[in-house]
């Protein structure tokens, strides 16, 4: 018994006597069935289609199930689906749901619920938008079967329906899924392994999930979002602790069990505590980004962009962000997530060897005449703040005229959408980062797309990049996929769609009385137990 429990026990001795002394063991048992988890951010909304933040996705996988789920090899496996048939022309897919699927209100999951859920998801998701463009008919055939007829073959169907990039294709009851994609739902009924206790939800403070006893897990062992999602605790409490030092102290004192994203500075302190385990959180990591505005000077000039990417030392960015722990970062020669099947360094060797002098020469050749570079840097995000400081120094050493705009993420979010010239409220560059899980193929990874007005902020327009996207979609073998992505990567480097600033990982930490924690892009709670 720890000192505080002893004190508390002393103070409540009278009360225990009155209740027959049984309260303490009962409490202890309940505590062992409750997992207290500190998430990366506040769960400010709970609609995974409307709000695409990772924290919403991470909570949603507890409550809503998916038709397919990525396993740790990034391969989509059946989850709610029992089986599927594809027509000979690959245009018609017929899916059958497995038996025993049930929503938290007790109603069975029917094919019509799935049809409505897919219909709501499609407009918000890049892969969904491709499917929507090909959609000819999506109908429920019977209670457990639905059919999807497309105007052209779509070989990446299972990937689209099972990917873990946001927004995921979660299945909701039809009445809920009929809500417009751009309007928030107000009923949080899913068919996943846990129920969301709305009455206990205090946004900004906590969210509580209760084991759904009628959930029927698959027989296969769990692997990320695939396999049997077996809950070994009854209750999961998300406790929002915005201050990292407080979260570290809470973990050390045993007030919480598992912290999703301890900051690097505090990791040595956590490692010194014998009750705490620390390990890499997400092997897919994150990709840092130096995003330029291709519409206006100076970055509308490809030579200027090349000057920057040539001079840019990813190592500087990574050391500024992560520090000396080289297990946590690596420099990249490509745009896709290192370690995943499509990662390539074709055309990108120069990205790994920064050359300031060569960058200066390219800048001179570009005809750059001192236009100010409006660097919009969010100071309230540790990642962008660290990147911004390195960038300001880099651009100055390169010989550029830097106008450093220190602001917050909310303002960056608004300003980056503006296409005005930089000196009229627009911008020249900003920093962000992309989750590795979102950068594994060119459809879900919209930061690498270069389709002009339709592209992500910065609006790069590089037909050679875009030409490879349909090639990847049409590829039927991994070799064909890799060939298409190789060409895409080379074109993206040559035209500098954006500048990656390095690949970095983060840690997670948990108390040693917790077992079953795995590395993954989402903190998977199934299979986690507490003693």
């Amino acid at each position: 018994m720890d000192r505080r429990s002893f004190l508390k026990a002393g103070l409540s001795a009278g009360a225990v006597a009155v209740t027959g002394g049984l309260a303490a063991p009962a409490y202890s048992q309940a505590a062992n069935r409750t997992l207290r988890f500190v998430p990366q951010a506040n769960l400010a909304n709970f609609d995974p289609i409307w709000g695409t933040q990772y924290v919403v996705r991470n909570a949603s996988v507890l409550v809503w199930d998916t038709l397919y789920g990525f396993d740790e090899k990034l391969e989509p496996q059946r989850q709610m689906v029992e089986g599927e048939e594809v027509s000979q022309d690959s245009r018609t897919w017929t899916f059958k749901l497995r038996e025993g699927l049930r929503f938290h209100d007790g109603e069975p999951v029917l094919a019509k619920d799935v049809v409505a859920s897919i219909t709501r998801w499609m407009p918000r998701d890049p892969m969904g938008q491709l499917l929507r463009a090909l959609n000819q008919e999506l109908v429920a055939v019977d209670d457990r079967t639905f059919r999807w007829r497309l105007s052209a073959p779509f070989t990446k169907m299972k990937m689209a329906l099972g990917k873990n990039a946001t927004p995921m294709c979660f299945i909701m009851p039809e009445r809920v899924a009929r809500t417009d994609s751009f309007t928030q739902i107000s009923e949080y009924i899913g068919s996943g392994p846990m129920r969301f206790l709305r009455d206990e939800w205090v946004p900004g403070a906590r969210a509580v999930f209760q084991k759904f006893d009628r959930y029927v897990p698959r027989d296969e062992p769990a692997s990320w979002l695939a396999g049997g999602k077996r809950m070994l605790v009854d209750r999961v409490e998300w406790m929002v602790i915005p201050d990292p030092a407080t979260a570290a102290a809470a973990l050390q004192s045993g007030e919480v069990d598992w912290w999703e994203n301890p900051i690097t500075d505090l990791v040595p302190q956590l490692r010194r505590n014998r009750n705490i385990a620390v390990d890499i959180a997400d092997p897919l990591g994150n990709i840092g980004s130096f995003r330029m505005n291709h519409l206006h000077p100076p970055f509308n000039n490809v030579k200027v962009r090349q000057a920057v990417i040539t001079a840019l030392s990813q190592e500087d960015y990574m050391r500024a962000l992560v520090g000396e722990d080289q297990n946590l970062w690596k420099v990249m020669g490509g745009f896709f997530t290192p370690g995943t099947p499509l990662y390539t360094e074709e055309g990108g060797a120069m990205m790994k060897a920064a050359n300031l002098e060569r960058g200066r020469a390219l800048l001179r050749e570009s005809g750059y005449n001192g236009e100010p570079v409006i660097c919009v840097v969010a100071q309230d995000q540790a990642i962008t703040k660290a990147f911004g400081d390195v960038t300001a120094d880099l651009l100055k050493r390169l010989g550029m005229n830097v106008d450093f705009v220190a602001t917050d993420w909310g303002t960056v979010g608004q300003r980056r959408a503006m296409k005005n010239p930089p000196n009229q409220g627009g911008w020249s560059m900003f920093h962000t980062w992309h989750a590795g899980a979102d950068a594994i193929n060119p459809v879900i990874y919209n930061a690498v797309r270069a389709n002009g007005d339709g592209a992500w902020f910065g609006w790069p327009n590089v037909p050679a990049v875009e030409a490879e996207v349909p090639n990847w979609l049409a590829a039927t073998t991994i070799e064909q996929e890799r060939a298409a992505i190789g060409r895409l990567n080379a074109a993206a480097v040559e035209n500098v769609v954006y500048c990656p600033t390095g690949f970095f990982l983060g840690y997670q930490a948990w108390r040693r009385n917790i077992s079953g924690v795995v590395k993954g892009p989402i903190p998977f709670v199934w299979g986690v137990s507490k003693s």
Partner: protein, 313 residues
Amino acid sequence: MFAYVVRRVLATIPVMAVVALFVFSLLYISPGDPAAVIAGDQATPADVERIRASLGLDRPYLVRFGAWVWDILRGDLGTSIFTNLPVATMIAQRIEPTLSLMVVTLLLAISVAVPMGVVAAWKQGTLIDRAVMAFAVLGFSVPVFVVGYLLAYFFALEWDLLPVQGYTPFARGFWPWLENLILPAIALGSVYIALIARITRATMLEVLQQDYIRTAKAKGVGQSGMLFLHALKNAAVPIVTVIGIGIALLIGGAVVTESVFAIPGLGRLTVDAILRRDYPVIQGVVLLFSFVYVLVNLAIDLVYTLFDPRIRY
């Protein structure tokens, strides 16, 4: 007196109207876009535009202001853009922790600071006086979050006496409730104790020079009776004023304290809402704070009459 109170309460209406106009206008012209935050980092500009339209953020200033005022007049503070919960519900969820923190801090500060100030004045120039003043300077100088981290380190991590973070509602028992508030109240109260102690000392020094104190001494009134009945009562008006002003400090300090100790109060609600540009929540909370502040001022004015019978309304 009753007419005065009614007049003061009525006077809050134009004050609140000005606050409402000011807050709304400030948010309208300030940069930032909740639609961009909602849409997430992978969203396209078209997605952001559509969300903005669905939230009504693309409507003209006057239309939005008019709709908001109309809702307030009907007792509706609006709905959070992010949580989809009524702002009144969110405030109700958060008001108990903040109120608890403020009450415990106030009680702690007054019960510690006033005797400290009185004793420092009584023992002017001695070691005790210097110690009290040194504590006051320290209290002013050390930021709340530093005090908070130090307290958490020693009392929670090293000695395992109190919890690091969180809040337990009063309904779950007095000790669980108080246990979570002790460290935050000390951290938040340190500045407040310093402020009140200094003012109490300064005012008491002035009062202790007065003729009636000398008369009381000459009549043989005891030391404690002289200090606390004669001197402190006459020194109370400035002290009460500072306590009232200090409530504004508490509101500001609560933001930091609630973050350090992960207390789900109104301070954190405000910060979260500002960072996300959750306009209805910001507007609702600021209106509430300004209303509380006006009421506190009124309460302080009324308390004056208890200490100084010459004050009449």
